[in-house]
Amino acid sequence: MAFQMGEETRTFPITWDVSANKYKIESRGLRILTEGMKDKKIRGIRCHECDTVYIPGPFYCRKCHIEIDEVVEVKDTGTVMSFAVDMADIRGNPLPEKRISAMIKLDDCDAWFIGTVENMDWKDAKVGMRVKSIWVDEPQGKFSDIDHFEPI
C-alpha cells in the first residue's frame, strides 16, 4: 500500500541560523601549503615514524598518533587515482560542458590532491594517467593557484 499523506499534513518553512560560529583551526599545515604555492611549490608534512606525507600537513600522524613537523616538498606532477565526469556543479546545477574532477596522487606524496583535468576529451580519461599542474601566472598563495591539471 502506498504511503498517503494525512489530510492535516503540511510542510512548514523553518530556518537554521548558525552563522555565529567561530571555527578554530591549527593553521600550520595550510600556511605551509599556501605560502609555498606563491612560489609554485607544494609542501606537506611527513611522519618521521611511518613516512606518510600528508597535504595539507596535520600536526599529528593519523596512523601513528604522534606529533609531526617535518616539512617536505612534493612534485607538482602526479597520477590520476580516480576521477568523475561532472555533469553538474556541487549544488547539482547543470554545467554547460562536462568537467573531469580527479583525485591525483602527487609524486612523493601519499595524500591525494583534488583538481580538474583539462585539455583532453573526457572519453579518454583513465585511472593511472600522468598529469601535471598548470599554475596561474601570478600565484597568490591560494588553492586556486593551481588552475587545473593536464595530461603529460
Binding site: V18, A20, N21, Y23, K24, E26, Y60, R62, K63, H65
Partner: protein
C-alpha cells in the same frame, strides 16, 4: 559470569572561556596525557565513544574530525550527541556486551569561544510552536523553573545565592574550574546582575571550553592497567517530554526514575546515607536542589534548610559537587563525564582539598535539554563488591 566494568583513568582540560586552541589539538593533547598516565598507546584501546555537538562544532557528524586526534583511526568508533555521561553509559554497555575489553570515552566543547550553547538550545524547541512564540531561550526557561520551585515551597531568592556561593568556593579548590571565588558569600552572588529574574549571572553556568576523557575496561583488564579501579555499580537514564508546558518544573521525575534503577543495580536502598558524595550537573543554582531531591539525597523543598545547615558542603552530611559544579564550569557535551571524573578523584583519594573523607560510593549525574529534560545517573564505587 556477568562482566564488571571499571574506570581505569581520566583526564580533563583546565577549562576556560577560551582555551585558545582548535578542538583537534585540545583532544590530541588530552588523550596523549591519558596514554602517558596509564602507559598505553592508542593500540591498547578497543572501542571509542565520542561526544560532541554538531551545531556547536559547526559541522555535521561532529566527531569525524575528532576521531583521529583521539587515536581512533581504523578502530571501532561511535558517537553520542547528548551529554558525555550518556557516552560513558554507552561505552559501559559495549564492554558488558563482551565485544570489547577497553573503551575510551571523550567529550568536548568549545562552547565558550566558538558557539554559545544557549543559541543551540533554541533548535531543541518545537519549530512550529515554542520556537515560533519567540519568548523562550534556555536562560529564561531556567527562570521559569526557578520560580516554579520557589513558588511551590514558598522560598525567596536567598537559597539560590547560597548555593552559588558554596559552589564558587568549591571551584576555588578545583584546579580545572573556569570560574571560582574562594570567599564567595550569598551577598556577593546577590550583587551580580540579573539575566532573567530571578536568575542572576552567578546563578547561571559560564560558557565553557573544555574536554574530558575517561578510559574504561572490563574488571580483569582494569586491574592490570591501574592500582585503584573505580567500579561502575549502576546506571540509568530517563527523559521527560520536550514540551515545557507539559511538565512540573519544580521536580524531576526523570531523575527520580533514573536514580531508582541505578540504585537497584548498585544495591543501594538508602541513598542519603549510603552515598558519600555526589557531583550534580546543575546549569542553574535552582537545579541542584530539584535534582538532589529527586535523587532522594535531601527532602523535597529543603533547599533553604540544606544551605542554612551547610549539609551540602564538602564537610557536610551529604557533600554535593565538591568540584564547584555547573556554576563554576559547564562544558556542554562533557559536563556529566567531567562529573564522573571528579567522582573518581574522590573515590581514589586524589581530590586534594576537596576530598570527602573516606568516600567509597559516589553518584555522578548528567543532564540534557531544556530545564534538565533528560537525566542520567551513574553510581561509582571504590570497592569491586
Amino acid at each position: 559470569m556477568e562482566r564488571k566494568v571499571a574506570i581505569v583513568s581520566h583526564v580533563q582540560t583546565k577549562h576556560s572561556s577560551d582555551i585558545g586552541m582548535p578542538r583537534e589539538r585540545m583532544l590530541f593533547n588530552l588523550v596523549k596525557e591519558l596514554h602517558n598516565k596509564v602507559g598505553i598507546t592508542r593500540h591498547d584501546v578497543d572501542s571509542y565513544v565520542l561526544c560532541s555537538n554538531d551545531f556547536e562544532a559547526g559541522r555535521t557528524i561532529s566527531t569525524v574530525f575528532e576521531d583521529t586526534p583521539v587515536g581512533a583511526y581504523m578502530k571501532d568508533e561511535t558517537k553520542v550527541e547528548m551529554d558525555g555521561i550518556m557516552a560513558l553509559i554507552y561505552a559501559t554497555m559495549r564492554i558488558l556486551s563482551g565485544q570489547f575489553d577497553t573503551a575510551l570515552v571523550v567529550a568536548n566543547s568549545l562552547g565558550g569561544s566558538q558557539f554559545r550553547p544557549f543559541l543551540i538550545m533554541e533548535y531543541q524547541l518545537d519549530p512550529t510552536f515554542d520556537r515560533q512564540v519567540g519568548l523562550i531561550n534556555e536562560l529564561n526557561a531556567g527562570a521559569f523553573q526557578a520560580r516554579s520551585y520557589m513558588d511551590k515551597y514558598g522560598l525567596d531568592e536567598w537559597f539560590l545565592d547560597a548555593i552559588s556561593a558554596r559552589l564558587l568556593r568549591n571551584g576555588a579548590i578545583n584546579p580545572y574550574a573556569l570560574r571560582s571565588k574562594d570567599d564567595a558569600t550569598p551577598e556577593y552572588v546577590a550583587s551580580s546582575e540579573y539575566y532573567y529574574e530571578p536568575l542572576r549571572k552567578l546563578h547561571c553556568y559560564p560558557f565553557s571550553d573544555g574536554a574530558c576523557a575517561v578510559l574504561l575496561a572490563c574488571g580483569e583488564k582494569a586491574k592490570e592497567l591501574c592500582e585503584k579501579p573505580v567500579w561502575i555499580k549502576g546506571f540509568s537514564n530517563s527523559l521527560e517530554t520536550c514540551r515545557l508546558g507539559e511538565r512540573e518544573l519544580y521536580t524531576s521525575p526523570s531523575t527520580k526514575q533514573a536514580a531508582e534503577k541505578a540504585y537497584k543495580a548498585a544495591g543501594i536502598s538508602d541513598p542519603a546515607n549510603e552515598i558519600d558524595v555526589a557531583e550534580i550537573s546543575a546549569k542553574f543554582a535552582h537545579q541542584e536542589p530539584i535534582i538532589c531531591e529527586s535523587l532522594g539525597l535531601f527532602p523535597e523543598g529543603s533547599a533553604e534548610d540544606v544551605a542554612k545547615n551547610d549539609l551540602a558542603e564538602i564537610t557536610g552530611k551529604m557533600p554535593i559537587s565538591p568540584s564547584g559544579g555547573g556554576i563554576c564550569t559547564y562544558v556542554f557535551s562533557a559536563a556529566g563525564l567531567i562529573n564522573v571524573a571528579q567522582c573518581c578523584q574522590q573515590l581514589t583519594g586524589e581530590a586534594g582539598d576537596a576530598q570527602v573523607p573516606n568516600a567509597k560510593i559516589a553518584l555522578a549525574h548528567g543532564q540534557d535539554g531544556f530545564c534538565a529534560q533528560h537525566n542520567s545517573v551513574v553510581i561509582l564505587s571504590s570497592e569491586e563488591g
